[in-house]
């Protein structure tokens, strides 16, 4: 395919076949350097600032409306700057089958992460604090396509951005009771939305994706992220709360709380991390990050019925399940 800049400043891309799947490389992104507009927006999630540049006025207004309290000038200094561009393409990935779950492809070009889906393609160079997002034509015409594209790329960006500080994104329902956060995690269909619905007294951080942060003292805290799909309500708070426990949801005929430790606890949590175990160099750091969290915060398998009696089991731990010994004695056995 070829890419060129037109006299009007728009990027014109001439693919060999617009109907074919196309996973852009860095050269493609380098050729799409023209921003969609001149507006910027500061986004802060879990204390991590991301500056979006190259937005049109309309795109900025849409994002401000969608991300609300997470858009705050004067928030954290940006750790990353992402430039938004429009490209004259119909799309990137193609829907392979009607029932396909929203598909994102990622790969690495040196230290740069490349990601794309149907309507967008992005790159992220974490070491340089820069990235970009190229939006297909449909995002100019369909606000939902724009929301979907921004949100899915930002999920990837934040999943990677939080790792160096010892935190992580977890596919989980985050519920706060009595000032402590309970993280219920597992694959789709495991019951995250169910436990949320069954807990009307709790402050809901999310019913799908929660950010875990590690403070300077090694305490683990949970906070909302503004990424919630198209229909879930917008989080009302960006506060963080101390994590009482991680609970792997397993639907069962009776309630049972099963402590999980060591490699098994790590395995349960790693299985619910989005995006960040896709590269061996990073996967080692991610395992360490999760191991450190699992050494400070108890991990359980929660076998539960679809009613709220599971809270009794959790309350029986006093919300203060025993803290396991700190991480030590890791042996690095992977790699060459």
């Amino acid at each position: 395919m070829t890419a060129r800049t037109t006299q009007t400043g728009e990027l014109s891309v001439e693919p060999l076949d617009q109907r074919a799947e196309y996973l852009p490389d860095l050269a493609f992104h380098a050729s799409t350097a023209l921003p969609a507009g001149r507006q910027t927006l500061a986004l802060t999630v879990g204390g991590i600032g991301v500056r979006l540049s190259g937005l049109t006025s309309g795109q900025r207004a849409t994002l401000e409306e969608r991300y609300g309290i997470f858009c705050a000038d004067g928030g954290a200094a940006p750790a990353l700057t992402l430039e938004i561009t429009n490209v004259q393409r119909d799309g990137f990935l193609k829907v392979a089958r009607p029932s396909e779950y929203y598909r994102v492809e990622t790969r690495w070009e040196g230290e740069v992460l490349l990601a794309c889906s149907y309507e967008w393609a992005g790159w992220l160079d974490r070491s340089r604090g820069r990235g970009g997002l190229a939006l297909a034509r449909v995002t100019e015409e369909d606000p939902r396509a724009f929301d979907r594209s921004m949100e899915n790329f930002l999920r990837i960006v934040y999943a990677h951005a939080v790792i160096p500080s010892g935190g992580f994104l977890l596919h989980s329902a985050g519920l706060v009771r009595d000032g402590r956060a309970y993280l219920f995690f597992g694959p789709s269909g495991s019951g995250k939305t169910t436990v949320t619905t069954l807990s009307p007294e709790a402050l809901v951080l999310s019913d799908d994706l929660t950010m875990i942060l590690r403070s300077g003292t090694g305490e683990y805290r949970a906070c909302s992220v503004p990424f919630r799909g198209l229909f879930a309500p917008r989080p009302e708070s960006d506060e963080s709360w101390p994590v009482a426990g991680f609970f792997r949801l397993i639907q069962a005929s009776e309630d049972r709380l099963e402590p999980v430790r060591g490699a098994r606890a790590i395995g349960e949590l790693v299985g619910s991390l989005p995006f960040v175990t896709e590269r061996s160099e990073i996967a080692g750091d991610v395992i360490d990050t999760i191991a450190a969290a699992a050494s400070r915060v108890p991990v359980f398998r929660l076998h539960f019925r679809k009613d709220r009696t599971f809270w009794r089991l959790i309350e029986a731990t006093g919300g203060q399940a025993p803290i396991l010994p700190p991480v030590d004695g890791f042996s690095t056995a992977g790699g060459n």
Binding site: R261, G262, A263, R264, I266, G267, V270, G271, T277, E278, R279, S280, E281, I282, A283, G284, V286, I287, D288, A291, V327, F330, S331, T332, A333, G334, G335, N336
Partner: protein, 105 residues
């Protein structure tokens, strides 16, 4: 002892090597292994973890079986079968590279 799998390695000449893309840590005596390319992970029990630690591209299956037999007080025959099956299992799950040329097994 470590789970079984069909097929076996050549115990006298094959010196298995970990897949270069694998990442692993040992915690409480159990290894946790991630293979990013295929989004797989595997948790090994203590004996499996010991074998994983012994895999270094120089030890043959025979070498490892002898070590396991001495450390876990099992017969040489049992250790040979278990280690051989276990290596086959790791290979089938893409956790090993070919010891001869570095290509993925």
């Amino acid at each position: 002892m470590m789970g079984t799998a069909s097929g076996g390695a050549n115990p006298q000449t094959e010196a298995p090597r970990k897949h270069p893309d694998s990442a692993s840590r040992v915690y409480d005596g159990e290894a946790f292994i991630v293979l990013p390319q295929s989004h797989q992970y595997k948790i090994l029990n203590q004996v499996g973890t010991r074998v994983w630690e012994l895999i270094d591209g120089t030890r043959t299956v025979d070498d490892m079986a002898n070590i396991i037999a001495s450390e876990y007080e099992v017969s040489i025959e049992t250790a040979h079968k278990d280690v051989s099956d276990f290596i086959s299992d790791l290979k089938e799950n893409g956790m090993l590279a070919n010891s001869d040329n570095g290509k993925v097994a």
